[in-house]
Symmetry: C2
Subunit: 386 residues, 2 copies
Amino acid sequence: VSTSTGHLLALIRSLGETTRAELASTSGLARSTVAAQVGQLLSDRLITESGTAQSTGGRPATLLRFNEDAGAVLAADLGATHSRVAVCDFGATPLVTEPLEMDIGIGPIAVLDSLSEAWDRLLDVAGKHETDVRGVGLGVPGPVEFAAGRAVHPPIMPGWDGFEIGAEMTRRFGVPALVDNDVNIMALGERSAMLDPPNDMVFVKVGTGIGSGLILGGRIHRGATGTAGDIGHIQIATAEAPCRCGNLGCLEAAAGGAALAKELTAAGLTANQSRDVVRLVRGGEHVAIHAVRRAGRLIGEALASIVNLLNPTLIVVGGDLAGAGEQLIAGIREVIYQRSTALATHGLEIRTSQLGDHAGVVGAAMMALDRILDPADVDAALERSG
Amino acid sequence: VSTSTGHLLALIRSLGETTRAELASTSGLARSTVAAQVGQLLSDRLITESGTAQSTGGRPATLLRFNEDAGAVLAADLGATHSRVAVCDFGATPLVTEPLEMDIGIGPIAVLDSLSEAWDRLLDVAGKHETDVRGVGLGVPGPVEFAAGRAVHPPIMPGWDGFEIGAEMTRRFGVPALVDNDVNIMALGERSAMLDPPNDMVFVKVGTGIGSGLILGGRIHRGATGTAGDIGHIQIATAEAPCRCGNLGCLEAAAGGAALAKELTAAGLTANQSRDVVRLVRGGEHVAIHAVRRAGRLIGEALASIVNLLNPTLIVVGGDLAGAGEQLIAGIREVIYQRSTALATHGLEIRTSQLGDHAGVVGAAMMALDRILDPADVDAALERSG
């Protein structure tokens, strides 16, 4: 039995709405211990009372819940050119968020300056102060050495290699700052919004390029050097286009948003990026629909192998091109059900992202919250606050 | 701090050779607590004293280590036709082991009867009694619902679907019995024999068919329905052979031992199975060497995608065809380094199995040991023994 107040907070956070009696029976702690720890959490405003439970007789029990207003976290999802910033509450819900057009190639200091400005502005709008900020979460479009909060040889982030992103943000804001790959935080965000989060899921981001975030056994799988989930350069049997990586037949070179935009441009349409492709599909443009359906089947080829390998419960498709909806998903489903084994697809769900553009910032906030609400850290903070 | 005697045993097991002083400093427990728990473990023969440590002054400290002779576990690695049975000590080392030729299609009762007979015979040879047996570990060539110890729709195990293998073995031997997919236990066995076990590794078994066992974040990844690691039906860009699963271009249909044996037979050589192919390669038969090298490159194509996706530290190639050694590995390495991204292959090691034929039984024994030496179970057993 874990007996600390921090563990009790984690239990309350996972239960949603609960009572002292339920906490005692679920945790195995004595009612007197639960009462004392609940008192401490209430006085530190980490939980709140929210009415009374329907009673089966006797005095109605007071309902307790995690206090999502206990503080704020700063979140950002950085892309090569399109980013999103947000101020979130302790439930990882964005209080206020906005897109930010910025070239990540201007380097880490200039990017973090812009982010700081944007966060200051959003804190104002949300009616929060810097003193409310307890953590920072950031996603970046490249591989990250997670424990060190450092980008490692990121191909599309010139000037960032080895830069201590987490340490620099902690220096600026005086709170824990976590950094991970953008697709990992999108996977985390999407999962955190589910009522019944699956243990094994694959989040596929189809934007300019194609990447994925893996949640396996309930945890993000990052791999030995933080590059896990890289599906853009998987070789596709039916594709032969040359890729910027130097190989032929990479998934990204055939089915990424950049490749599709180029293809539609060659066909005489106006398409510079994924969003233009989606606009054309929604407008009923036959050539664009045809291209996106074919891209879906190619992505399905890569995912068919991944379904056999990882046997996930859920595949979520996000990123700009997911805006094409069923036109993209239909081909993915078709090939997975045709190519993966029946055992692996039994019970598999394949759908588009529920959070859309917000998956990244929600995941970035959740990553920061999971750290600052870690039981050991909560216990240490409670001790300091007396 | 975990304070139970079972946790202290787990610590001693992980440290190898240790002293009471080191245990106190590593665990954070009081020296008096360590002394009492060590006394209990010594009297229950779960640990032994093994000499004295070199001292820097004062009384030399007594060395303590986990007692690998504390009991025996029964282990078996079942294949479609070739199996291996063993009696192992508490270090998962086979005390005695032998191959067993048996068609798994005779059904679970007949197979478990044969296993029981073989284990009885091996216990005699090892000078052990049934009362020494504390656990049973079994690998089977199909998907397993691990928690239930049950095969689930196994394609090549007629009559086994839904059979409660673990429960039946527990009924026969009166001890905990664990069941998993054969490639998962091979991965576990190979990993348990390493001095510095990696967190993320892929074990590829190349036999009649092709499968893999994934260890991710230090744990076996089984997936939603226990079929994770199934790489035999990944579609290979450069292959077109029809597969028994009904698709074209599956890895197994082009590079599995059965496919190679058939190909060599068609070329006028004598080859019924993987081992015959290896024999021909070792004999310098040009056609066989050519076929195995090509098979290596095809396996490399599948693994190149998996290296991008999972970013492992280590790939171990086992199974009968691994007996071809460098002739098989060379092609695998060549394609992985050519097709996977530089970031993912940085620091990646690719090699053949160190345990060879024994990886399965060592892993099966380790799986049983991890269960019976689980701290909570050890504490419960110590309480019962007084």
